[in-house]
Structure formats: C-alpha cells, structure tokens
Amino acid sequence: MDTLLEILSELRPDVDFAAEDRLVERGLLGSFDVVMLVTRIEEEFDVVIPARLITPETFRSAEALYSVIQTLSEED
C-alpha cells in the first residue's frame, strides 16, 4: 500500500490519498493520469491490469485500486 501511495502522491502531491474516496468524482484523478498511473503500477507491482478493470470505479480511492492490484497479484 505504501508503494501505491507513493506513486499516487508523486502524481498529485496535494491530495491525501489515504483518506480520499472520491478521487474521480472530485476531479482529482483525470483521464490524463490513468495511462501513466497504470504503467507505473504495472512496473512496480509486476502485474498486468486488464483493460476491463480500468474504470472510474477502480480509481475512486487508493484502497479500491490497491485491492485490484492485490487480487491480480494473487492470481499470478
């Protein structure tokens, strides 16, 4: 989780990602960020996020995103 929070705060240093659960709704993460975020996560966690899981729902909070990453790592 710490690694993910680090990646996220690199992207948006002003956001408290541990607490925020409406990242997309509040415009804190935009479509500009998704490609880079996914690329970074795939590098760091050595997973491939399938396109069908790339949705506003997945990016609504750090927690939601982390649980997706965990599920993917377990599947490996």
Partner: protein, 504 residues
C-alpha cells in the same frame, strides 16, 4: 449562404426525423434542432440581446450544442463555458467579456453567479418551451453579415490572462466545406465526439452534422477512464468517425484494450497535432483498418488548417507529417527575416483567419499581420508561432514551438500562464514549467518556502484542470543560464531525469 444555420435549415427539410445531436440522455432530430435553436434565439431577442456576446454555461450535452446554435440565430456570438474551466478562468472570462446574458440551467447558474456574472440568466429549459418569434429572427438574420463574429473561445495567454479568439461565420462555412471533404463525410456517418464544447475542436463534429446530415454522439467524459466501455460505446452507436486528441486514442491502445474488445464500425480516425507514439499507431492500424488522418491547425484559423492521411509505414522516431493545407488555405513558411523558406515559422492565409483577440489590440496586432510578401494591398496572415519545414517528399512537418507554448490533450497551454499562477502562491519565489511531449507529462519546478501541497492547491483554484502539472518539484535555487535567464533545459533534466529503462 451566410452562416452554417442555413445548413441546419436544409437538413431539417431533407431528413427531418434523422438524429442530429445526441448524448446519453437525449437525441435531437434535425427538425427538433432547428425548432429548438429558433426558440432559444427568440428568447434571447425578446430579452433584449442585440448583436452582443452571450455566455453559455451548461453541462457538456446535446442541449448545449443547441444553445450555441440558438445564440447564432439571435445574431449574437456565443461564448461557450464549462464548470471544469475552474473559478479563476471563468471569472476572468466574465470580467473580460462582460456579457449581459447567460444561458444556464439550475446547476450552472450558481457557478456563474459565484464567479462574477451579474447579468440576466436565460434558463435553457424555459427557453426551449417558448414559441419562436419568426419575424424577429428573420429580421436579425437579414441584418447579419457573414463576417460578423460567430463565437469567442478562450485559450491560454502567456501573461496569465486568457485570450478570446473571435471566430466568424464565413470561416465556419469554409471550414465545414474543406473539413467534410477531407473526412469524406456523408449522412451515413456517425461521429463520437471527445472534445469539450468550450474549444473550437468541437466544430469538426458540429459542422459535419450540419453540412452533411451526419449524426453526432457526445462521448461521456467518464468513458475516457474506462477504455473497454469506451470502445463498447463506439460499437453500440455504430460510430464511424472520431476526431480525437492523441491521448484519447492511446488510452485505448496502451492499456491492452484490443485484446478484449475492438472497434468494429470505425472507418475514419482523425487526430490532433500532438506526438502520436508510432508504436501506439501501429497497434491501432493492426486492429482497426481505417483511414488515419493527422490534422493540424491553430484556433486562430478556425479549427484545422492542414491534413495528412497516413499512406505509408512509419518507424519509431519518425515524424508524422501535417501534410498540406486545406483547399482555400495557404501556408507560408517564413524565416527570421520574413522571407519564404523551406523551414521557418508556419503562417496562414485565408478566409479561415479569425478576427483576432477580444478587447486585446496588442496581441491581435502581434499575431495577425500584413503578409510580408504582399506590398500592394492589405492582406492579413496569422503567425502561428509554430516551427515547420517541408520534408523531402514536399510534405509539411510540424517541428515544435518558437516560444513556450505546449499542447496537452488538445489544449494549448502557455507555460508562462502556469508559472504566473504558481507565483501567486505565498512562499513561491520562482517558477518554471517544463513539458515532456513524448510522455505527455507537465512538470513545475519552483523555489521558495511554500509546501508542494500548497502550490498545487493554489494552482487547482486558478488554472483549468488540464493545466495542472503531473509533477511538482521544489528546488533550492533555480538553474540559470550564462546570461541570467532560467535555464529551461536544466529544469527539464531535473524534472524528467532519464533513467535506464526498467528490465522486465
């Protein structure tokens, strides 16, 4: 023909029941679109609007498109706005234009009031239920000229104040003719529109609908975070044509989307003048057989000015040309002493030229100048500030900017505007913004005692979302060049350190 409204009237006769402007909640046919624009125009006239700018602040929707065309019915230029522009940009536009009238709904009216709009609000839902006043509309149209302003759209300005570009009806007509010819639009085409409505980029779809009887679907913004759903949307609505910014296309190709779903109805894919990574282009070409067209053009020349259809294989690192100008547009490449050259500043001639910048004679005079190759009569050209050259095949190539303007997600950004906004935060003593076009990353380096978070929070309140830097870096001191200027290259290296590519 004086305005594109005459195309709408024609389509309403030829194919009245066909879908014209659609979004997730509503679909207006051509006859409904004609009727609604006449109602909106009539309400503006009866409220007293008299050949003056009318602001429109509505959610991005088919209804907003009708409000734009309805404003034209009243002989008034429209000023399209969106809440996502942010408080500072909105209030600065209201202050510069001082519109007396605003078209809004219950959700957007408070936003306009909070940002300094003090005039009369026309509620769109009420306007669309009012009987049109045919005599008043005819009278206004009779007095309207094709050189009158049709709209004002705002782009980033280097000093911090946004510039209002004034488009005219005759240029829109010309653009409709040339663009639909290049895209080969017919009434069978369905457009999936990605652009926001507050920029001139949305004209491509609007004009194709009006000129050729095509259908337009506004693609919801949230789908540009959901690539599979995005492609499903295109397939469900049988979208044949997209004119998208490059990052919207690479969102699909770079996230393994094609292994799950492939667009099946696309025939024409046009994209803007940003770097299209060749690897991503190849993925698209591999999965989606279509015409791929690179478009280039500044807002000041009404949408796009040049086009190139991909007709050969490109390799990594190749530059996709911008090709040649649209018919009825001329490109001049001028060197530093204003002589024609094979490499130089891209300058544009033609009816496509806008009137200039709203209430800004200084910037207008600097950018819209007498053609240096014509000494005998007034002949205006627009200096784009873009650097171009002809390649060995005689195709025009875009090389970059002469100044510090960049293009990101289709939006023009003056790095100076971002720097000035950062300098307004307490504790920021110096600022330098840099851009990496390959990765589409914008970074801001600053000096001073301010916390990073405070700098970003300050920016969030003062610049549109698309201008927010993806990376913020605090420096102890700003690197300077030998003659004391900010060393942008050094800042670039600090913000984007090149590391050996990760071994996977």
């Amino acid at each position: 023909m004086k305005t594109i409204l005459e195309y709408l009237d024609l389509q309403a006769m030829l194919r009245p029941e066909k879908a014209a402007f659609c979004d997730e909640t509503v679909c207006y046919s051509f006859s409904e679109s004609k009727e609604m624009t006449m109602r909106i125009g009539s309400v503006l006239l009866s409220a007293g609007a008299n050949r003056e700018s009318v602001a429109i602040l509505l959610p991005r929707s088919a209804t907003m498109l009708l409000a734009m065309l309805g404003t034209m019915r009243a002989g008034c230029p429209y000023v399209p706005l969106d809440a996502e522009l942010g408080a500072l940009r909105l209030s600065s536009i209201f202050e510069r234009v001082q519109p007396r009238f605003l078209i809004a709904d219950e959700s957007t009216e408070p936003i306009a009031r909070e940002n300094g709009f003090s005039g009369t609000v026309i509620r769109i839902s009420e306007a669309m239920q009012t009987e049109p006043d045919l005599c008043a509309l005819a009278d206004v149209y009779h007095r309207l000229l094709d050189v009158d302003p049709a709209y004002i759209v705002f782009t980033s300005g280097s000093t911090g104040a946004p510039k209002g570009v004034i488009g005219k009806h005759s240029a829109m007509l010309d653009y409709a003719e040339q663009l639909t010819g290049v895209l080969r639009v017919t009434d069978k085409d369905v457009f999936g529109m990605q652009a926001p409505l507050y920029v001139d980029a949305c004209l491509k779809e609007i004009l194709s609908v009006l000129r050729c009887g095509a259908t337009l679907w506004i693609v919801p913004k949230r789908l540009f975070m959901a690539p599979v759903e995005l492609v499903r949307f295109l397939n469900d609505h049988a979208v044949t044509t997209v004119c998208w910014v490059v990052p919207a296309l690479t969102l699909i190709s770079s996230l393994h989307t094609f292994s799950e779903i492939v667009p099946t109805t696309l025939k024409t894919i046009a994209f803007g003048s940003e770097v299209f990574p060749i690897r991503q282009l190849h993925l698209w070409e591999q999965y989606v057989p279509a015409r791929y067209i690179n478009l280039y053009g500044p807002t000041e020349c009404t949408g796009m000015s040049c086009w190139y259809e991909i007709d050969r294989a490109f390799c990594d690192g190749d530059r996709i040309p911008i090709g040649r100008p649209f018919d009825n547009t001329e490109i001049l490449l001028l060197d530093e002493s204003d002589h024609p050259a094979t490499e130089g500043e891209i300058c544009i001639r033609g009816v496509c030229l806008c009137h200039g910048y709203w209430n800004d004679p200084e910037h207008t005079a600097a950018a819209f100048v007498q053609n240096p190759l014509c000494a005998s009569y007034p002949d205006r050209i627009y200096r784009t500030g873009d650097h171009g050259r002809y390649n060995a095949r005689g195709e025009l190539e875009f090389l970059g900017r002469i100044d510090n303007q960049i293009k990101r997600m289709g939006h023009r950004i003056e790095l100076g505007e971002l720097e000035n906004a950062a300098l307004k935060t307490d504790g920021v003593s110096g600022a330098c913004a840099v851009f990496d076009p390959e990765k589409n990353r914008l970074a801001l380096a600053y000096t001073g005692t301010a916390e990073k978070a405070a700098v970003v929070t300050g920016l969030r309140g003062s610049v549109p979302e698309y201008m927010l830097p993806g990376k913020v870096l605090r420096l102890d001191r700003m690197p300077l060049t030998g003659n004391g200027k900010t060393d942008r290259l050094a800042v670039h290296r600090l913000c984007f350190p090149s590391k050996p590519s990760a071994v996977k």
